[in-house]
């Protein structure tokens, strides 16, 4: 698998050959979960099945609030009967406080280790040090980096290309993986975010389960995330140069009525990618349009796709 041309300005040619694998450093914080009741307690706090997680494995789950809305999407590293939740730095303290509310008399203690990093290597196999994982559509493995570890030497040894922040964000949006811009303030249920595969419907109770299961039986999520692909000039025009935030851009239907908004956008030299939120149900992709702000280049959105399963409507 070759990386696309615009992925990174940090491409390192090793021995004259283009690297075949990509590497990424994720910056975050770790919520350490310790105590004899850690496994059972954590299984009731996250959507993923944790009860049978083995030492050295990593699982991806969702932390929901009691109404079933996504608060975070932690990586769960299993260390025997102890667990490390690798989460984004922003919001980590608030997440720990939220988790701590649900410890009553259980033998569970939480602590926060800030400013940590994880290394993902595409194509790497889980070997007890690295754990098999998928990141933004890339198959590989991930591990927590020790303090002071030099990433570049690890990456170069494997002949991989280290993605910079821009390239990593582009990979995220291109793969249609929701992140903090989608979760923050949007109050999404897992089915609305296309993350149903991170929910175990057979493991028993977890926080926020009831609304999720009710929606699963009823169908027709009221909101949906979609992925858009477009000319890079259009994608770049959607970002505010000052803040990096999204300029006003509506997703509209055939009548011109706004039915959604753009939540994330990025681009490489060849293509632009965006994630958007449809606020209403009942649309087919061929009836959607993007209305960018005034002054945006006249460029077409070439593809819309639902993130996750397409709706039943």
């Amino acid at each position: 698998m070759r990386p696309s041309n615009g992925l990174s300005k940090c491409t390192a040619r090793i021995g004259g050959y283009t690297p075949l694998m990509r590497a990424a450093v994720l910056e975050g914080s770790i919520i350490e979960v310790r105590g004899d009741d850690s496994r059972e307690w954590l299984n009731g706090q996250l959507t993923a099945q944790i009860a049978d997680a083995k030492d050295g494995e990593v699982r991806r789950g969702l932390k929901l609030d009691r109404t079933g809305r996504i608060l975070a999407m932690p990586w769960v590293f299993c260390r025997g009967e102890e667990f490390d939740l690798f989460v984004e730095r922003e919001g980590a303290k608030e997440l720990l406080e939220d988790l701590d509310r649900y410890i009553i008399m259980e033998d569970v203690e939480l602590s926060l280790r800030e400013d940590t990093r994880a290394l993902f290597l595409e194509g790497e196999r889980g070997d007890g040090i690295f754990a098999r994982a998928t990141l933004y559509g890339m198959e590989g493995a991930i591990r927590i980096l020790e303090e002071g570890e030099i990433v570049e030497s690890i990456v170069q040894t494997r002949g991989a290309e280290l993605l910079d922040g821009q390239a990593l964000e582009t990979a995220r949006i291109r793969s249609g993986t929701p992140g903090r811009p989608e979760f923050e303030r949007r109050r999404l249920l897992p089915q609305e975010a296309g993350l149903k595969e991170l929910v175990s419907f057979t493991k028993g109770c977890f926080l926020g389960q009831e609304p999720v299961v009710m929606l699963e039986h009823r169908g027709s999520p009221p909101k949906r995330l979609i992925r858009l692909e477009m000319e890079p000039t259009l994608a770049r025009s959607l970002k505010s140069e000052g803040t990096g935030g999204i300029k006003g851009a509506d997703i509209t239907d055939d009548t011109g009525a706004a039915v959604g908004e753009i939540t994330s956008v990025s681009s490489n030299d060849e293509r632009g990618f965006a994630i958007g939120l449809l606020r209403k149900r009942g649309f087919t992709l061929d009836t959607l349009h993007l209305r960018a702000s005034e002054g945006a280049p006249s460029a077409a959105v070439t593809a819309f796709a639902f993130i996750g399963e397409p709706p039943d409507n």
Binding site: W41, G44, R66, I104, M105, E106, Q209
Partner: protein, 108 residues
Amino acid sequence: MSIQLTPRAAEKVKEIRELEQIPEEALRVRVLGGGCSGFSYDLFFEDEHTELDQKFVSHGVPIYIDMMSYQYLEGTEIDYVEGLHGAGFKFINPQAQATCGCGSSFSA
């Protein structure tokens, strides 16, 4: 305020104790972190308590509650209901902001 059993719940507790041949044990009531609404109720028989437990007697049934759980259970009445959808102990908790459909989990 205390924790109360309804007469029906107290009779059921005594009946179960007799069946399990532990007629002198108390009912421990506690809250666990977990369940679909955030917290869940737990009931079991126990003959030990600590100085930090809250102790009550309701219709002849001694009840023990740990200090942490009591914060969430103060003023609760425990009933026993039987119906087409099953039978079990039901918690009427004035501190619960919401309760799940089956009644075993609540938010506070």
